[in-house]
């Protein structure tokens, strides 16, 4: 298992480096002259040159890249062009807010998805299974901004149950904050429900079919014990892996949700940075998203290999 994890770790580091190159090239090299972009098409060439000198963007791209990476490795993410604040602060605050929203979504969806999947599997082929499977399939397909429109209409406008914005007033208590986060979490819950339920269903069906389940039934264990002790334990393993790989998707979804509900998270931060061509903020934000995804998948691999003895002996991938 040690070798497997070591290999995963090395690949993660290489991935991160590649990611930094992709981000650097697309945010700083491809769009062309940085000074010209900031000052606009009518600025004097001298002013553009001066700004480029001041920002350090007149140097060779390798020097610029080295400088940027050196800063990132030492924890200095530079300064935001549009907000005149250290990027580190902005990204950290955004990440904290997004984590709250994501946590609410996960806490709602994980039990719901697993329950739905297991119920579908226990009723395989019957109406309830079709109902859960088809609605899961539909829920996966609908973009978050589309379901966001519908949930805003239903819960906020027609029934007046929940607030339309996600940002609770400053100084609000825990439950108020939670109340503000439920509506934005719902579209994320819908999409994730489909994935998790599908995996839980497939895992449960496989486990129900397995020889050990047959043995457990034949030796006369009650149905509930068989399901709890033999089926679920084996069925939920692949589900854990799915939950972790969905973090990547989740961050993409957060961009849209945070925008619609006007919530100050990392997603909205990256969106605004892209709109305002604030490349130091954009680069760091995107890089952080990559780091979060890699850490989540790495942790999932560790958890998965700790829970599943078979993978310890399998060669990596």
């Amino acid at each position: 298992m040690g070798r497997f994890l070591l290999k995963r770790f090395v690949v993660a580091i290489v991935t991160l480096w590649l990611l930094s190159v992709i981000v650097f090239v697309s945010a700083q090299i491809l769009p062309g002259d940085v000074g010209r972009r900031i000052l606009g098409p009518f600025a004097a060439p001298q002013a553009v040159a001066a700004l480029n000198k001041q920002l350090g963007t007149d140097r060779s791209i390798f020097v610029q890249y080295g400088d940027w990476m050196g800063g990132v490795i030492h924890g200095d993410l530079g300064k935001s062009l549009s907000q005149n604040q250290p990027v580190g602060h902005l990204v950290w605050d955004g990440l904290k807010n997004s984590a709250k929203l994501a946590a609410v979504a996960f806490i709602l969806v994980v039990p719901l998805g697993i329950f739905g999947g297991v119920v579908a599997a226990l009723n395989e082929g019957r109406f309830l299974d079709r109902l859960i499977s088809v609605s899961g399939l539909s829920a996966i397909a609908i973009p978050e901004f589309v379901s966001a429109i519908v949930v805003i209409l239903v819960f906020s406008l027609w029934f007046g149950l929940l607030p339309v914005t996600a940002q609770a007033p400053p100084g609000a208590g825990f439950f108020t904050v939670l109340k503000y986060l439920i509506l934005p979490a719902l579209p994320l819950v819908l999409v994730l429900f489909g994935y998790i339920a599908r995996m839980a269903r497939a895992g449960t069906i496989e486990a129900l079919d397995a020889d050990y389940t047959r043995t457990a039934v034949l030796k006369g264990l009650p149905r509930r014990t068989v399901i709890r002790r033999h089926v679920l334990r084996n069925a939920l393993l692949p589900t854990i892996a799915v939950v972790a790989t969905q973090t990547g998707y989740l961050i993409g979804g957060l961009v849209v949700i945070e925008l619609i509900f006007n919530y100050q998270g990392i997603g909205q931060l990256i969106f605004r940075a892209a709109q305002q061509k604030d490349f130091p903020l954009l680069e760091s934000g995107v890089l952080i998203v990559g780091v979060v995804y890699l850490v989540a998948t790495l942790l999932a691999d560790v958890a998965y290999s700790l829970l599943n003895p078979r993978i310890r002996y399998a060669s990596a991938e």
């Binding site: 082929g125 901004f145 429109i149 406008l157 990547g248 961009v255 849209v256």
Partner: protein
């Protein structure tokens, strides 16, 4: 009561071993057509494809025509879905909007499938170093959600139909490549591949002329599944302003322009394009699901 009830007997009897290929194909089609969810999906998808072809012609109003005096009018007999903030007919814009998203989604999926198939064939056929390098490159790419890659592209090259097409196509390439690679790994063990290699055929010939025809089924299934995701991604990207620029009647842009008005009670300019996206994307997924089930047997 036992837990492990035998699964309900499949509606179709097992095939006799008479004429395999043709019978199997006919059976597969019968299976697909018998699925109710597939038929519903196909009907809705057919409607939208029809609208992509004729939508702007049969629309009751000009989808581009402003009418400031009649802006934000609620749904009525003349304007079934009401009018938007510029007084344009929402119903006409929803019908006319089908073409843009369907064309871009098809192009992006074709692009991703073609590139993904080529890379997948190479990775599965050569294995070793080629496979490893492609794997690491693709992993780096997959660690970013498509929305983020879209925003990077927005900064790098600016918004356009081409930008969205390329972003979605490029994001799909590694995913499709993975599926194709797995299928190729299974195929390359078979005798016909060995025979071709012993005949000293060149690798491109073996990959494209020998292996490719035998992995078309999983590629077709992957294509339809990806098409659903493409619509999801393209709608989201155009909502974020990476895609089709206004004033084109695009569903995502239409929602982006009007969602802020919902809390003021003007729900129709956002809700109807939203329902259009939802019905299109669900229909594609139902069709893809039907195909997946039929081909997995």
């Amino acid at each position: 009561m036992t837990v492990a009830e035998p699964p309900p007997v499949a509606a179709t009897p097992a095939l006799e071993v008479v004429d395999h290929a043709r019978l199997a194909r006919r059976e597969r089609i019968r299976l697909i057509v018998r699925s109710k969810t597939f038929l519903i999906g196909a009907a809705v998808l057919g409607f939208w494809i029809l609208m992509a072809l004729l939508g702007s012609t049969i629309a009751p109003h000009d989808p581009y025509a402003d009418d400031i005096l009649n802006k934000l009018k609620a749904p009525s007999g003349t304007h079934w879905f009401g009018t938007d903030s510029l007084g344009r007919d929402v119903f006409s814009r929803v019908l006319a909007g089908a073409r843009g998203i369907i064309v871009v989604a098809l192009l992006a999926t074709v692009l991703g499938t073609a590139a993904g198939t080529a890379f997948g064939l190479a990775a599965g056929y050569f294995r070793g170093l080629v496979d490893e390098i492609l794997g690491i490159l693709f992993n780096a790419f997959l660690s970013l959600p498509v929305v983020i890659i879209g925003l990077l592209a927005l900064v790098a090259v600016g918004p356009s139909k081409l930008t969205v097409t390329l972003v979605v196509g490029v994001v799909f390439t590694p995913i499709i490549s993975r599926t194709v690679r797995a299928a190729v790994l299974a195929e390359r063990q078979l005798e016909y591949v060995q025979a071709a290699r012993l005949r000293n055929e060149r690798p491109p010939y073996v990959m494209f002329a020998e292996i490719l025809p035998n992995v078309l089924a999983p590629i077709l299934v992957e294509f339809t599944v990806r098409l659903g995701y493409a619509i999801f991604a393209i709608a989201t990207l155009s909502f974020l302003g990476v895609g089709i620029p206004p004033p084109a009647p695009d569903w995502g842009v239409q929602i982006a322009d009007h969602y802020g008005l919902i809390s003021g009670g003007y729900w129709w300019p956002s809700l109807f394009p939203a329902l259009a996206i939802a019905s299109l994307v669900i229909s594609v997924n139902l069709v893809a699901d039907g195909l997946t089930h039929a081909f997995e047997r």
